[in-house]
Amino acid sequence: MNGLGQGVREPYAAVSAWLDTMRVEDLRKKSAEAELLFRRTGITFAVYGDAEAAERLIPFDMIPRIISAAEWRRLSTGIEQRVKALNAFMYDIYHRQEIIKAGRIPAELVIQNSAFVPEMIGVEPELGIYSHIIGIDIVRTAENEFYVLEDNTRTPSGVSYMLENRETMMHMFPNLFAENRVAPVETYPDNLRKTLESVAPHRLDTDPVIAVLTPGIYNSAYFEHAFLADQMGVELVEGSDLVVMDGYLNMKTTQGLCRVDVLYRRVDDAFLDPLTFDPSSMLGVPGLFDVYRAGNVTIVNAPGAGIADDKAIYSYIPEIIEFYMGRPPILKNVPTHNCRKPDALKYVLENMAELVVKEVHGSGGYGMLVGPAATKEEIETFRARVKANPDNYIAQPTLALSTCPTLVEDGIAPRHLDLRPFVLIGDEVRLVPGGLTRVALRKGSLVVNSSQGGGTKDTWVLQD
């Protein structure tokens, strides 16, 4: 909030004045109230391996994170450029592979990548789009300096928290919204529905039927699946509700079978269709992939979309943007050392204490080392692991992430943040002004993942 210089940055002025009028006890009381609200609404995430008992809340911090209109304009142009390039890249990878032929990206990095789905070669997705919903993790390090940490092109989650956090804030502090010009985010479900409709199989002569596919109530993001289906007014289905018949995907309804045209799936690629992918999957639908390949259903996001958010591919994204968009990237990548390259490996091993080291396929904050916060032993263990399997690791410099005042045990204190805006790509690119702000609740911590004790905040994009 304070930036690098002294004093409060301009977008925060009103909220800072409001904070001065609040006592910490009042904030705590409000915070308990908010928690009750979340629990009643059932905005919980399940913890794997435990059925009913383990529905947990993601901590919600009431002090909003604020982005100015000018900052958002810049961010959104950068995001739009990036998601177009990512989709162009995927189309190319599953078709002529020009970028490989041009020598801009090593062939084995793509072909041998576990996120590359060979079954997708030659498939023509509607409008040529593979990743219709992308969550881009962005951090800010200085005034007007944003970095993209990673792209989530498979099944990014968290958008329900963006919407519910706003709902809760408006419920608890309506006057704050009267005093600040906060851009609304409530249009997201409507935008999502429009996006999904726009990519329905084009031969359709009726209104497309949309369904959200969930692995079920024990999935950690189940609340979000139900929430989105409800907000869009479409069915929430499980694999067992679906069946392939006569070349089409159908859901089993009270009146018999009903065709599904667009499947927004929140199930991983491997589990989509036991006939094509993991044969032991109980979550998917036998024969689904054939229906998809024949163009009779649209799967959102497309199978194989993970190739664009692979951490080893990440370091090539600036080149990917240049290659397909013909312009340099607007949003910067964090400089990344790919340990598969010998000189990069050497550098990483020598400077481990200053770097963040990540597994190429890790997520959720697992399997990573934050050098400056790690003990000597931790660093040594990680060094051995990297040496044993360098291809599996990348490393990045530790960035000075921005902070925002946050209610913690000893009062209000700065905590590090990131931001995940949710972009929709269909007949047009749709981006609601905002996103999910995640906050590392432990002092000094840079890891914001909810599985690692991170919390969330409402994200305000101010209007001019």
Binding site: R39, R40, T41, G42, E52, G216, I217, Y222, F223, A226, F227, A229, D230, E235, L236, V237, E238, S240, D241, M251, K252, T253, T254, Q255, G256
Partner: protein, 315 residues
């Protein structure tokens, strides 16, 4: 609507209704267990409560002897007893969670907060005088859920399947309560007119919350045939078999016109309603109250089964 959704909504309603009925049953049984009874074991009354609840065998397998504390614990808190209030609420909430999209926010929040609060009750530390309050609270929560449903839900198949669950469960419950106690209502019983009889009759009425309204309707002391008439044939009594079938029949009619097709379950429901409409209590007593109730329970199950077949609950 998905067949699975219809199934979950239907069972969600059944379990909420069952929890509420169970609260009434325990209340009525508890009251009788407090009455002085010469020579007889006052805990004996719990046998009929357990039988009405359909879980006498499980109880005896677990506890052996009857005593108030064990029975109450078994019917209220025992998660391993599928008919306990605990199990009913847990299943109802699980179904609700699976069908978040079909429920309104008010319905979900009502049910979810009931479940969260129920979990904070610690059965071991409960004082005996807390029981009536807990039972009242359960009826209140069930009413709150029904209220949220009636006030906020769309009048489409979501509503229809929820209604069917409520009234099929209610009809089953009333018929069972009557059947377990039918011998108390027979004129041949040796205890005619005794104080015990009166208490037994009142217990029956209490277990369907009808002991006050009875007097308004019949303007008379308790008479066994009137009690039977009230719970079986009276249209105004909201828990009578006739009233339940009025709801079931019209709901199935609405469903037929919504879907543009009438299913066999609608016919079975209509004929059951006709049976209750043209029935009179003297004939029922003459041809056997027990036989009548057994036949009714079987019919009710048939309607339930036909509904699940017609609307692909388990496809």
């Amino acid at each position: 609507m998905l067949g699975r959704t219809a199934n979950d909504l239907y069972w969600l309603s059944r379990y909420i209704e069952r929890a509420e009925n169970m609260a009434r049953l325990i209340e009525a049984g508890y009251r009788i267990a407090l009455l002085p009874r010469a020579g007889d074991d006052r805990n004996q009354e719990w046998t009929s409560t357990l039988e009405s609840a359909g879980c006498a065998a499980q109880y005896h397998a677990k506890h052996g002897t009857l005593d108030t504390r064990n029975v109450v614990d078994f019917l209220l808190f025992d998660a391993s007893n599928p008919s306990s209030i605990h199990a009913c609420l847990a299943t109802a909430r699980r179904n609700a969670r699976a069908q978040r999209t079909a429920l309104t926010r008010e319905m979900w929040e009502s049910l979810n907060s009931s479940w969260l609060e129920f979990q904070t009750i610690k059965p071991d530390t409960l004082r005996p005088d807390a029981l009536p309050r807990i039972l009242d609270w359960i009826k209140e929560r069930s009413a709150a859920y029904r209220g949220a449903l009636l006030n906020t839900i769309l009048r489409n198949d979501t509503y229809f399947f929820s209604q069917l669950g409520t009234f099929l469960e209610r009809a089953d419950n009333t018929a069972r309560i009557l059947d377990v106690k039918y011998y108390v209502l027979l004129p041949s019983t040796s205890m005619i007119g005794s104080g015990v009889d009166n208490a037994q009759w009142e217990a029956i009425l209490r277990s369907v919350s009808a002991h006050r309204s009875y007097r308004w309707v019949y303007k008379d002391s308790y008479r066994s045939w009137r009690i039977a008439d009230y719970l079986i044939l009276n249209r105004a009594m909201p828990r009578s078999l006739r009233a339940c079938y009025g709801e079931i029949e019209s709901t199935l009619d609405d469903l037929s016109s919504l879907y543009g097709e009438e299913m066999p379950c609608a016919k079975t429901a209509r004929s059951t309603l006709a049976l209750l409409d043209k029935g009179d209590i003297d004939t029922i007593f003459q041809s056997g109250l027990h036989e009548f109730l057994i036949e009714f329970i079987a019919r009710n199950n048939r309607v339930a089964h036909e509904i699940s077949e017609a609307y692909h609950f388990n496809s």
